[in-house]
């Protein structure tokens, strides 16, 4: 579903991502971990086509993001680390906007939006201005907006930051269900326990370079993910 080949991105003299390659198959949850400034967000932004890269190639479901960005974006949902949404819209208006862009039929939109808003306890707040939402509420709305159009690939940058424990639990459940239905998920996190429990595969990035990747068992062996991560970071 997602194939990154030799991705390189530099900012001036600094190589933010250096020759990074990895592949995510349908139905996989792929965790992406690394220290602050390691290159996680740069990689994720390149994947969703909002950051140009210098070398390498990114394929979404076999299509190059460079060659057909719109076609690729139709299959992706992206949730950034800081969901700056349209403060001047209500939650409902935002979901209508996303639905309109993806051509989600009204009935389907209503069904899915109600379902997910109910799950995340956001139903009572959907008609309020997004400007009045807390960080967590915005994060929930961004997640709902990402789920209503049945993406094949979900890219999430620190999705659990700002979520209350219940919402985080529900999100993990939804992520698992989506993957069971064939959706691939690629997300970055600093919460190693979550990555360890949730991910099928994991990649560790340090100073822009991929230093270890594979199934959870391959990466951590008998140790905990935290121990492996700290050893690799030294």
């Amino acid at each position: 579903m997602l194939k990154i080949e030799h991705l390189t991105k530099t900012f001036g003299e600094h190589k933010a991502v250096d020759d990074l390659s990895l592949e995510i198959k349908p139905g996989e949850i792929y965790g992406f971990i690394g220290h602050n400034g390691a290159g996680k967000t740069t990689t994720l932004k390149s994947v969703v086509g909002i950051l140009p890269f210098d070398n390498g190639e990114i394929y979404i479901d076999g299509t190059s993001i460079k060659a057909d960005p719109l076609g690729c974006k139709r299959k992706i949902a992206y949730i950034p680390d800081n969901p700056d949404l349209y403060d001047y819209m209500s939650g409902t208006q935002y979901l209508n906007f996303i639905g309109g862009i993806f051509g989600v039929p009204t009935e389907e939109l209503q069904k899915k939006a109600h379902f997910y808003a109910n799950e995340f306890s956001l139903i009572a707040d959907l008609d309020k201005a997004i400007g009045s939402y807390s960080h967590g509420m915005k994060q929930k709305l961004a997640v709902i907006g990402a789920l209503i159009h049945d993406p094949k690939l979900i890219i999430m940058d620190e999705p659990f930051v700002g979520l209350d424990p219940k919402a985080a639990f529900i999100l993990k459940q939804i992520m698992r269900e989506m993957c069971d239905n064939g959706t691939a998920i690629f997300f970055s996190t600093h919460v190693l326990e979550v990555a360890e429990k949730l991910c099928d595969k994991v990649a560790i990035i340090k100073d822009g370079r991929l230093i270890k990747s594979g199934t959870m068992e391959e990466v951590k062996g008998d140790e905990s993910l935290e121990e492996v991560f700290l050893e690799l970071e030294e």
């Binding site: 700056d84 209500s90 639905g99 309109g100 989600v104 939109l109």
Partner: protein, 558 residues
């Protein structure tokens, strides 16, 4: 010594003592001006040279505006001087011109005061730091003071020039008047800040915030224009009863008298005049700084009110994009006031034209007499007036920058950037077309314009709207800014609005000059259609640029 060490010892980084309040205040003021300076180095060229060039260009443009205003104020001062100067009551001229300068400065800065002082995005983070509220307020006031001073000067300096012409050049008088000018700038600033403060207080209690600002601004504008159009009557009344009025001010408004007297070099006037200004500014600053924290918290706290009818209903991509633009526009008082005023003015002009029908016909007749009665001349005049109005509706110009930190949404969604651009262009049509039609129909009826002339004028106006929409978008694509802390910056400060507004006015001026020069040889309708073709041609060139390079730039801009 590193920064942490210096902080630990109570000293500010860079050698200044953290405890020194002036150092703290200067840091805040520096930050405030740094925000402004980023507006002159936006886009690709983030070089110092680009920044300095942009700043110099802006200063020149502001100087041109101030000089134009100053010239008309000088003419007014000169005409009033025989009545208001002399008889030992020279202060009367200064009182009159001080009031005009302060009113002008307040009108211009009050639109920014609410946003700049109380609704800047970084207010909360600054309030969370150990900084007295008063310092934050004072630092926010600094850039406003510069603008207020410039427009106050456009009223005060001509009066000083007329006075110096009369009494002769005296260095002492010049110095005193410069000090008074600097002080009067603070008075304009104080009045503007109070109005901004009141608007913020009202806004905080309203559901549809933003509309209070618009209503307050419209009322103030209405009063200003009422006063402006009555200036002849007012001047006449002043001439007829200047002595009585002077006695009244002397008796009942001594602070105003002292401020006026100070300009003439009277020591008593200088001391009491400056004291008056200091007391007014001090009281206002005290009240505002005391209430600053509360006003800021209320301003930033968005009331949990319901928006829309709560129906989950999708539309086409083009529909939802246009709805988004409409919501963006109506959610911001600054956006509505700065980019929608022309639409209201066109409708107001249409009403005024019908009410003052004879005046319009008389005006057109005079122009016909001067430039020869070329057939359809009214249509050309109508088009030029509408061009000027449409230029003020620069909706597309800040529209990319106003996406702000939410731009990732449009970039990550599967939408062709051209659809996004076209939704912004359509919004500019929505703002301009009703006004164009209403005003053109009103003028056509009043001047008994032929259908052909009217049609040519309307086509030219629509072509001009198309041009301004594409031109504004092009400027913003070339010079975007997403790191603003206050939406007034992309809307009306920095270089973009100046290039857009004055560039378009200059174009109108050139088109107007060519129109009058060729009116005898080229029929108006032909001239208007030629202009339409040129404007549409330029619009098409920009369209091609947007469809090519613009698309690529938009996809990755941040």
């Amino acid at each position: 010594m590193n920064t942490l060490d210096s902080r630990a010892r109570g000293k500010a980084p860079g050698g200044g003592g953290l405890g020194k309040t002036s150092g703290l205040l200067m840091t805040l003021i520096k930050k405030q001006f740094m925000e402004l300076s980023t507006l002159f180095s936006m886009g690709k060229r983030r070089s110092k040279r680009g920044s300095a060039g942009g700043f110099a260009f802006t200063l020149i443009l502001y100087a041109v505006i101030a000089l134009s205003l100053g010239a008309s104020m000088y003419a007014l001062s000169e005409s009033l001087s025989p009545v208001l100067l002399g008889h030992g009551e020279d202060w009367k001229l200064f009182v009159m011109m001080d009031i005009l300068g302060i009113a002008l400065a307040t009108l211009i800065t009050m639109f920014s005061a609410d946003l700049t002082l109380f609704r800047a995005k970084d207010n909360e983070i600054l309030l969370s730091m150990p900084i007295p509220s008063g310092y934050i307020l004072l630092a926010r006031m600094a850039p406003l003071y510069v603008i207020a001073l410039m427009f106050t000067a456009s009223g005060v300096v001509p009066a000083i020039m007329v006075y110096v012409n009369k009494v002769g050049l005296n260095i002492g008088i010049v110095i005193v008047n410069l000090i008074m000018l600097l002080a009067l700038g603070f008075l304009s600033l104080a009045l503007s800040a109070v109005l901004g403060w009141l608007v913020s207080l009202v806004n905080a209690r309203m559901k549809g915030r933003g509309f209070a600002s618009v209503i307050a601004s419209l009322v103030f504008l209405g009063l200003y224009f009422f006063f402006y159009f009555q200036i002849n009557k007012f001047t006449q009344a002043l001439v007829n009863s200047s002595s009585a009025m002077a006695d009244w001010i002397h008796k009942f408004l001594p602070p105003i008298y002292f401020v006026g007297l100070a300009h003439t070099g009277s020591v008593k006037g200088i001391i009491l005049g400056l004291l008056t200004i200091a007391v007014i500014f001090g009281v206002i600053y005290f009240v505002l700084s005391r209430t600053f924290r509360g006003v800021v918290i209320n301003a930033s706290k968005t009331v949990s009110y319901k928006v829309g009818n709560g129906q989950l209903k999708t539309g086409s991509a083009a529909q939802v994009l246009l709805k988004k633009e409409i919501r963006r526009f109506t959610s911001s008082s600054s956006y509505m006031m700065n980019c929608g005023l022309g639409s209201i003015m066109m409708i107001a002009l249409a009403v005024a034209a019908i009410i003052k029908k004879d005046m319009v016909v008389y005006g057109v007749d005079i122009i016909k007499r001067v430039f020869g009665s070329a057939p359809g001349l009214e249509a050309g005049l109508l088009a030029l007036v509408i061009f000027l109005m449409v230029s003020t509706c620069y909706y597309t110009m800040p529209s990319i920058s106003l996406e702000g930190k939410s731009i990732w949404i449009l970039q990550s969604l599967p939408i062709d950037p051209m659809k996004i651009f076209m939704s912004k262009i359509k919004m500019e049509y929505i703002l301009c077309v009703p006004g164009i039609l209403i005003l053109s129909i009103a003028i056509a009826i009043v001047t008994k314009m032929s259908l052909l002339s009217w049609l040519a004028a309307v086509i030219a106006c629509l072509a001009y709207t198309t041009f301004t929409a594409f031109f504004g978008l092009w400027i913003n694509m070339k010079r975007p800014s997403f790191d603003w802390t206050n939406e007034a910056y992309p809307i009306k400060q920095g270089l973009n609005p100046l290039i857009c507004l004055f560039g378009e006015w200059l174009l109108t001026l050139v088109l107007g000059a060519l129109f009058f020069l060729t009116a005898i040889f080229i029929p108006t309708e032909v001239y208007l259609l030629l202009v339409s073709l040129i404007l549409l041609g330029v619009s098409f060139v920009i369209y091609r640029w947007l469809a090519g390079k613009g698309r690529q730039i938009f996809a990755y801009m941040q």
